[in-house]
Amino acid sequence: MVRFLVPLGIFVALAAFFVIGLQKDPTLIPSPLLDQQLPAFSMQSLDDEPVPVDHTALAGRPTLLNVWGSWCYNCRVEHDFLMQLSRNDVIDIYGLNWNDAREDARGWLRQFGNPYVASGHDIDGRVAIDFGVYGAPETFLVDGNGTIVHKHIGPLSPDVWLADFVPRLAALDRAVSQ
């Protein structure tokens, strides 16, 4: 009675897809910008510094560009870790304040601490579009030549940092010293 085996067959096929699906990270959206030069940008500084935050500020050493907003819950989640990175001088972090009211963003930094060397205020969301931002938080690792080496979607954590950032930073260091 083959027809009684049909449900089992269908289920086995479905299960195979689940096994494959589980190995893929649904948040891993390939960025066309990966291994490309940083798009040119210029944003007004959130702190009203006269110097704009632009792509030249990121040149010369590896940096992080972190997309955040005061409205974003997961930005709050990763914030303590960003503070830790900044306190320990691990890397310079630049902020791309996205889709946010200026006052809200400043209040947020006053309340929770400011891990950024500087944050640019992306008033009309143009810069975020150039970077293909999909949601906040997102973090780009940029090398000294202004090439985007890695993009992480979602909150940063010590685990993510160790797995995805530390090896790449080490590789960059080796490349520089050679």
Binding site: F4, P7, F11, L14, A15, V19, G21, L22, W71
Partner: protein, 659 residues
Amino acid sequence: MIPELGQIALIIALALAALQGTLPLIGAHRGDTAMMSLAKPAALAQFGFVLIAFLILVNAFVTSDFSLQYVATNSNSQLPVMFRVAAVWGAHEGSMLLWILILAVWTSAVALRSRSLPLDISARVLGVLGLLSVGTLLFTLFTSNPFLRLQPAASDGVDLNPLLQDPALIIHPPMLYVGYVGLSVAFAFAIAAMLSGKLDRQWARWTRPWTTAAWVFLTLGISLGSWWAYYELGWGGWWFWDPVENASFMPWLAATALFHSLAVTESRGLFKSWTLLLAIMAFSLSLLGTFLVRSGILVSVHAFASDPARGYFILAFLLVVIGIALALYAWRAPSLDTQAGFEATSRETFLLLNNVLLVIAASLILIGTLYPLFVEALDLGKVSVGKDVFELVFIIPMLPLAFLIGVGMHTTWRTGNLAYVLRQFRWLIAVSLVAGIVVPFAVFGSNNVMTALGIIAAIWIMLASIGAPLKLVRGGTALTRSAVGMHLAHFGVGLFTLGATVVSSFGVEADRSISAGQPVTAAGYTFELRSLEEGQGPNYAFLKGVVDVTKDGKPVATLFPEKRRYQRQESLMTEAGIDGRIARDVFVALGDPLGNDAWSVRLQYKPLIRLIWLGTIVMALGGLLALSDRRYRVASAAKTRVTGAESTKRAETAAPGTA
């Protein structure tokens, strides 16, 4: 100290569940009465310990014990007590514990009513339920322990996700879970039947009320979720075909098919393998829903916990449970099936069509939900399947089903005379046709094919479900409660169809800019912003708009749409202002400030939208009425098994309307 007791209680419950899941099954196989008799006390004791663990977690929330990681991430000292209790199931770990508790409640209910069952059947059913408890308890203890301590303890909690701080959300998840998990009882009965190799009409009679009960809860749970999405998410939609919604809807469709199929098995002894397969499918789809939501395998706005370790565990559990069930089905079902003839126009045919169409609908939704996964697994990129596709693939099987309901209710078992049925109801058919074609023009000034078809189907179902029982009563037949329940539930389907058709055809949604003294108009209603007030709720600050709604210069309502900012989570929530009448809703949601004291607002006019939820409530009431039918109470009280001849006689007298 106390939270550790909760963990110990769970471990004891696991041991008891393991006992309940092994010895009674072995005993039933060997015919050992002593081993089989262990099932009931083990099940009740397991429930006791799960309840202790659950109450300890509730207590930790109510007393704000922020030394527990789960409490610290999902509660806050400012959170009202009502929501602290609801926060127990506000995230993954607690909702797993709730799942386990509900499974234990269903298991105990079966155990307490098991006196009317033969010992080997009740031992097998409780044994299978025990194995399911083992799986979920292991999952919780190893991957999702709600009793983990936080070192050092937090001074205050992060707060419950503000989206979930809503009265409907206190009861929506438990309701839905009671439905999901309740399908495990029909599943366990199906496995027991296949293990014992006996599947008679009495079996269907035992299984049917459990299925109906689970279905009632599932119906209300889904409906509550839809109602919550409507007024809380601020978009004014009532169904989004989101993976998580689909995950609850697919088991509902399978369960609906299941109890229709059970009706045939109970009354005629047919469709046995269908019934078994549907029982397996309904519960498998519930498990699949849990897997999809918890594993993060599909990205959804509702999926709150995603963790691959959990995903692998649930997948393994799924493979074992569904794999074994379907293998058993392939092995045992062929020998259980009975072949008997019925005419093409008999009630059996209509119920078979009902089964086939519902299964097609569930399968299409499953394919649509998993399509992104298939595409990704085959490395074809990333896609998403939108609302339009789902609506289309859902309507294709459902529209014929809607028309068939009205005919099927009037047919009789075994033989049928379709021409007679249609002749009898020619007036009802004429009225539905006229209503569907003319009324939309008269009320809304326009019509189209899909709208007309939807309204014709809705009116036809409603008229038929009133007409059929009236005819029987006039003919001198006493109606059983289960017959009245069936007609009531079908009437609910009609109400739902009418509401869904009208609101999707004639609903108006408009995004406008509003400021004080500058009224805006949408769908014939004028909205004027009187003022904006700021204030403070228990754990949020709010901005409340006061909006006067008028139509043709006459006041209609004053609405108070709110924007809330929850302090701890720094998130903004929208509370819509809704004036709800049975005929229509007028809906205002505050958007964003546009500068110069202007605000963007979303205005909506939703005719008959309340019928969507009213319809589902009526369906659930129909199910409850059928549950209270005398023959289930009698069947459970009588210890003796009904003989074949007697049950045939009974089934025939109950025939008009047992399905």
